[in-house]
Symmetry: C2
Subunit: 191 residues, 2 copies
DNA sequence: CCAGTAAGTGGGGTGGCCCTCCGTTTCGCG
DNA sequence: CGCGAAACGGAGGGCCACCCCACTTACTGG
């Protein structure tokens, strides 16, 4: 009998991985300079690869953004885990939201990534990760009657992302964002 | 002696005015369908004019958006005027903000117009109009100790615009936006 | 060590977009 | 009416996302 179809690759080929890394690095730099709608061709150019390679590794702009922001998001998730040990659940939630907001303004375009579009079909790893992380904090805060009972993480993140988006191209973005965020968080508190 | 340079036109030529109107109408329809980043060439195509004509009448996308939203914005300004007579200044402000938010989600892209880019060089009539209108309401609310004393209209509008932007592509945009807005406004109140 | 092969690559093409130049048409004033 | 200026719109340049396909390269089993 014919032998089975070729066994599927277990790991990426070494050069492919290297190229992917070069692309992510270049994208990170360019996005920091120009924002999340930077030219993908310019990214490929700076990474020293063809545009086809970029598109093969990252089929959509969103996919590339997620790769770029992955470690930042992981850091935020870790922070959420730490804050679960905080004695004051309400304070913990609000501290985390401000941290998320700070990252979102600092890294142009992260905000848009987090809010995410209700239409994205699948694979929104970034958004899922942060949603899950935030959910734990929110649940605890809700149990302690520190927040309005009808809040959802999605709403919270939308709020944070929206504010980041609105201030990210401001002259004094971070300060403005922090102020607006503080105000919004105030509204989230249980009355 | 040579006669003075030809006297400058006082009014637009009739066909020019008609074309401008057709363009605004087409843009309004397309923006309602596809959002504020709709293709300008498609607008020109639907209006039955060449793309050069569109660009002559509206040198920037922002200029076109302002023309499209002008009457909506005027309505909001009028409403602000009316609300100045409301006996409760805090309530009046919050009602107006919700009205602004509702319009912003309903008319895709209005939100972005309102928040406006800190870098726009000049001529942001739309933004100016609404800023002035809101300022009166805010001043009155502040005098009545109904809001935090450090709020500015710009911040308020940024908040509203951001929320509209964040929810405008949602399945259930209006409801979501109203809820988030209510929360944010709650944070704006004086403690 | 070596060849076979699937995985990976990138140049070039396509179509869309924004915007401008410029020859042609149209308006409206005198 | 007739003429000059105002307005028009198609063609074309530059840029971009994305796809196709002939070529190259890394891994694997003998």
């Amino acid at each position: 009998m014919p032998k089975d179809a070729a066994p599927p690759r277990r790991t990426m080929r070494a050069d492919a991985r290297r190229n992917a890394e070069k692309i992510v690095a270049a994208a990170g730099a360019l996005i920091a300079e120009q924002g999340a709608d930077a030219s993908l061709e310019e990214v490929a150019r700076r990474a020293g690869v063809g545009s086809a390679t970029l598109h093969r590794h990252f089929p959509s702009r969103q996919a590339l953004l997620e790769a770029v922001f992955k470690d930042r998001v992981e850091a935020l998730c870790a922070k959420a885990g730490d804050l679960l040990a905080d004695p004051d659940p309400g304070q913990a939630l609000s501290a985390w939201l401000r941290a998320v907001g700070a990252h979102a303004v600092a890294n142009r375009g992260l905000g848009a990534s987090l809010m995410r579009d209700a239409d994205t079909t699948l694979g929104e790893t970034c958004h899922d990760m942060i949603t899950n992380a935030g959910d734990a904090l929110l649940a605890r805060a809700r149990a302690a009657d520190a927040v309005r009972p009808d809040m959802t993480v999605t709403q919270l993140l939308k709020l944070v992302g929206a504010i980041a988006l609105a201030t990210e191209k401001d002259i004094d973005g971070p300060a403005e964002a922090d102020l607006l965020l503080a105000i919004a968080i105030d509204g989230v508190r249980a009355r």
